[in-house]
Symmetry: C2
Subunit: 322 residues, 2 copies
């Protein structure tokens, strides 16, 4: 998902596949292999050996255990170190994939591994549960969300934060969800904006990776369009830039518009497929499990056929002050 999105938008990608599975875990079963931490380290060493380690950006996503989180952290630190003399020439987007909806789906030792790592990231993309896990704070309303973001900026010195899929009981916001972001000021105060998007009543897999990959590309694009920002460390905007005018906010508008278009198309296709599936005559021995698997497949994100939505999204949503 992430590799194709970045390539579609013109990035040359060196991908380290940390897992090779037959399918995503939404199916409840999968076969395949996970890369060990030393295999990850080895691949990076191979790149270095042949002078193939010049990268502008790095995106790290799902990692199967604490050791591989540390291995990826070591790669990012090495790339950061190389870029020390050229501020803004390397940028690390870290998606601290740990769980969702109140549940961890990685090993427990992954949590402290990420806590030790995120202070070196330029942009982190936790969902609401992951933000709670990283800060130890429960997010129940706008105020606690603001406190959690402030803590991430202050405690971990993270320049940019995006909290993906915030579900808060906000009056009048039925059927919608919010994405909330912030770029720190020079004194590590938050500048928070939010983008409200309509919820689509369907469970999709891989949307976190899609968001991360789109964000990487669109944020760099927005920074490139802002005079002198590309050579500032971590691309942190001047203090007088308001929240909704941040390059991060501009990027988020485009990212969510692309995603909404792709997922709306996917939902339509999935509904038509399920209608046909429910209508047809069942085969012998066809049970509950098969039906569940077929329904999961029907909700697979239609990315390739909707790649036009990635390249030139009409902007459907606007960032608002939080």
């Amino acid at each position: 998902m992430a590799t194709f999105v970045m390539q579609s938008l013109g990035c040359e990608v060196a991908a380290i596949n940390t897992v090779q599975l037959s399918n995503h875990l939404g199916y409840g079963q999968a076969k395949g292999t996970r890369a060990t931490a030393s295999e990850i380290t080895d691949l990076y060493q191979g790149l270095k050996d042949s002078y193939l380690d010049s990268f502008d950006m790095m995106l790290s996503g799902y990692l199967p255990g604490a050791a591989s989180v540390e291995a990826v952290g070591a790669i990012a630190r090495d790339l950061k170190y190389k870029a020390t003399m050229k501020p803004g020439s390397f940028f690390w987007v870290l998606d601290p994939v740990m769980g969702d909806n109140g549940k961890l789906y990685v090993a427990e030792d992954v949590v402290p591994a990420y806590k030790a790592l995120i202070k070196d990231a330029d942009l982190i993309l936790p969902n609401q549960f992951e933000a709670e896990t990283l800060t130890g704070m429960k997010i129940v309303d706008g105020e606690s969300l603001r406190l959690a973001i402030t803590k991430l900026h202050e405690t971990y010195r993270i320049p940019h934060i995006m909290i993906t899929s915030v579900k808060l009981p906000i009056p009048g916001a039925v059927g919608s969800l919010s994405v909330v972001g912030s770029t720190a000021t020079s004194s590590f105060q938050p500048r928070i904006f939010s983008v409200k998007i309509p919820a689509i009543d369907c469970f999709f897999s891989g949307t976190g990776d899609m968001f991360a990959a789109l964000m990487l590309v669109r944020f760099r694009e927005a920074v490139t369009n802002t005079a002198a920002l590309m050579t500032r460390s971590s691309w942190i905007s001047e203090d007088d830039v308001e929240a909704t005018k941040l390059p991060l906010a501009q990027a988020t508008e485009k990212v969510l518009s692309s995603m909404h278009a792709v997922l709306t198309e996917t939902k339509g296709r999935r509904d038509r497929e399920l209608e046909l599936y429910d209508r047809r005559i069942k085969g012998p021995g066809e049970g509950e499990k098969q039906s569940r698997l077929v329904k999961t497949k029907a909700a697979e994100v239609r990315l390739v056929r909707n790649r036009g939505c990635l390249r030139s999204p009409g902007v459907l949503f606007r960032a608002e002050d939080f």
Copy 2:
């Protein structure tokens, strides 16, 4: 390379990475891992377990050993078997990657493994050396090339054959190379065409995979545009279709036009990069090896930035009778 090419042209791809290496072997060194035969088999079983094994086409490429060649063959046969009642609904493109320029670069037991396998393929894409290896015949001129293709059709019952990069001492063909293809008639006689293309004076890696992936997409497209061909077994054209009018020939014209455009762009970029590299002041301890590695990197195919050349190539080359 192959996955991105197919995705760019609208295919949903389930990729089994048979190797995960830091770089291609043109660098003379690489780190990484190779999938075992049982890992390959396992991934396919995982797909089957979740009803994710509905494929229209399969492309098999580089495989590190005889056991993995056999594992991939078993997958292809299983998919063929499932398609028995619907002729033309599954098509296998097999690139028997074994070597080039007179040299094997796989283990010796890979050769008999491919010989046992190719009779089940719909289209094979050997280069000149691989065609020689499969037939046991030396290709030295047009006549021996015709004999080798005839033998592949007759002995192995292969419907479609493309011999990629034929280098023959043809008078007046200096600075060019040919791609020679054939679709068998119902009596397994060859219908041979050739497409001559200008040679580009540079060694590129991954062009075999690029050719294979483009061919898969463009051949299916040409077959779709031919009435009733899609439901014929192995998409074999009626006996009265001439060589240069074959869908395989039409596909080849488009494939080579895309490749020529991408590789010409790549060569231009590479030359400019090398010029800058040669002019700059050398760092301390910079030797022969570093220079060789940098030059190899400069010749990496610029695929992502030239993906427009994949989608809508102007046709530059025409198939001729052989």
